[in-house]
């Protein structure tokens, strides 16, 4: 069966939703620039008032995240230069952001960047896997600091390769 989405894909025509999501996918998180805000899971919805007025729902990761204002400005700018100067941004608080919303692609990018992705099977407990040892050093890590360089990260050290690494906390 050929669905509407397939047909659009076949015709290589981008819907307005796809276009906006593509623009948003190019907006990087200022603190972890390898992640886009879409990878991070903080774009909650794209709705439309009229064809040139998208409404973007954004949720903060941590309530005190200092990057929140910067991200809003980046989103506004990206949409504006890509034909949506009338885009409207709204803050969505509920349900609260969770690190389980980081996309699979985002988790791979985090690991490649040297940040252990959140361990989502065990909420807030369990040790991260050293992003350099590729998982062979499971459990052989020690916590250096519950809070790292940003609110979302903790600092660990691998007991095998002895390198310190950031851990994106399950949240």
């Amino acid at each position: 069966m050929v669905t509407m989405v397939d047909r659009v894909r076949l015709l290589d025509v981008e819907t307005r939703d796809q276009r906006v999501w593509r623009i948003l996918s190019a907006v990087a998180d200022p603190e972890i620039p390898v992640l886009s805000i879409v990878d991070l899971g903080i774009v909650r919805h794209v709705r439309w008032s009229t064809d040139d007025e998208p409404e973007i729902g954004l949720t903060p990761t941590y309530s005190g995240c200092p990057a929140t204002d910067f991200i809003r400005d980046s989103v506004r700018h990206a949409l504006s230069v890509n034909g949506y100067p009338k885009a409207h941004l709204v803050e969505v608080l509920s349900p609260p952001w969770s690190s389980t919303w980081i996309s699979e692609a985002g988790r791979v990018k985090l690991k490649d960047y040297g940040i252990a992705p959140p361990n989502c099977t065990t909420e807030a407990v369990g040790n991260p896997v050293c992003p350099r040892c590729e998982g062979s050093a499971n459990e052989a890590v020690e916590l250096i600091s519950e809070f790292g360089s940003t609110p979302c990260k903790a600092l660990y050290r691998c007991c095998v390769c002895l390198e310190p690494f950031d851990y994106f906390k399950p949240f």
Partner: protein, 263 residues
């Protein structure tokens, strides 16, 4: 700026009470966040500098959400910045506990444990509040508060069950700060109205779960719970200790000296 000039007479009773109730929560987070930020660059180790700074950031973030909400309830045109920077000492309604000086790192940790457990219990209760906005803000904040308590209680156990010196110091701080915890569970008319409206919990019940958790932590930290003090400091009613004014003069300096200045 006097309170009389900014609270419009058209605000009905329920709205006024709700505004005051949310403002108390906001001020408590804001003042504690500001207090903790004094450690930035001065904490005993880099890890603690980061830890305390991150907790401070979370609290100020929570305060922003609550102050924005308070401003909307009041509907007098005051936003989060005006509420934070342009009120005088007597208009602040934070708990007196959070305005107390940081003291040594152990003292800061004692204060943090006392307030983290209170916040955790309260924020968890808000899941059943009739106030939808509070439910949403709390759902976000409660996850952060769990991390705060892990950090603070972990340190309290290490210091309490540490050396003779560290034990004596945190026990002394606990004895000094305990008197400010009476306020957390002594309701006034706003607390009672909030409870009746299903917005807030019964403070006596809250005290039970708070005490249970506190006793567990103190026990593990080999610390002794001090006796309760009948006198109540009512920071939430604007009756503050001498320390708040100094904190505000620091926090509000820029907006007071250069009204309306932006980055």
């Amino acid at each position: 700026m006097s309170r009389a000039s900014v609270v419009p007479v058209s605000v009905d009773f329920a709205q006024t009470e709700r505004f005051r109730y949310v403002l108390r929560l906001a001020d408590t987070s804001l003042i504690l966040g500001q207090r903790l930020s004094e450690w930035v660059g001065h904490a005993p180790a880099l890890e603690e500098d980061l830890g305390v700074a991150n907790i401070s950031l979370d609290l100020i973030g929570q305060a922003r959400m609550l102050l924005s909400y308070a401003g909307e309830i009041e509907a007098a045109g005051r936003d989060e910045d005006q509420l934070a920077y342009l009120r005088d000492q007597n208009d602040f309604c934070n708990l007196a506990l959070v305005e107390q000086p940081n003291g040594d790192f152990g003292c800061t940790i004692v204060r943090q444990v006392l307030i983290d457990v209170w916040q955790l219990e309260l924020l968890s209760w808000f899941d059943a509040s009739t106030d939808q906005r509070l439910r949403e803000i709390a759902a976000k904040a409660v996850k952060e508060t769990r991390y705060h308590l892990r950090y603070s209680s972990g340190w309290l156990v290490r210091l309490g069950d540490g050396t003779e010196e560290s034990h004596t110091r945190v026990q002394t701080s606990l004895n000094d700060l305990w008197k400010f915890t009476t306020e957390l569970f002594t309701p006034d008319e706003i607390d009672r109205l909030a409870e009746n409206a299903g917005v807030a919990p019964n403070l006596n019940v809250l005290r039970g779960s708070w005490l249970h958790r506190i006793d567990e932590i103190l026990n593990e930290a080999t610390l002794t719970r001090p006796d309760d003090v009948p006198y109540v400091w009512f920071g939430k009613r604007g009756e503050h200790t001498e320390y708040l004014g100094h904190l505000l003069s620091d926090m509000q300096y820029l907006q007071r000296a250069y009204p309306g200045v932006t980055w």
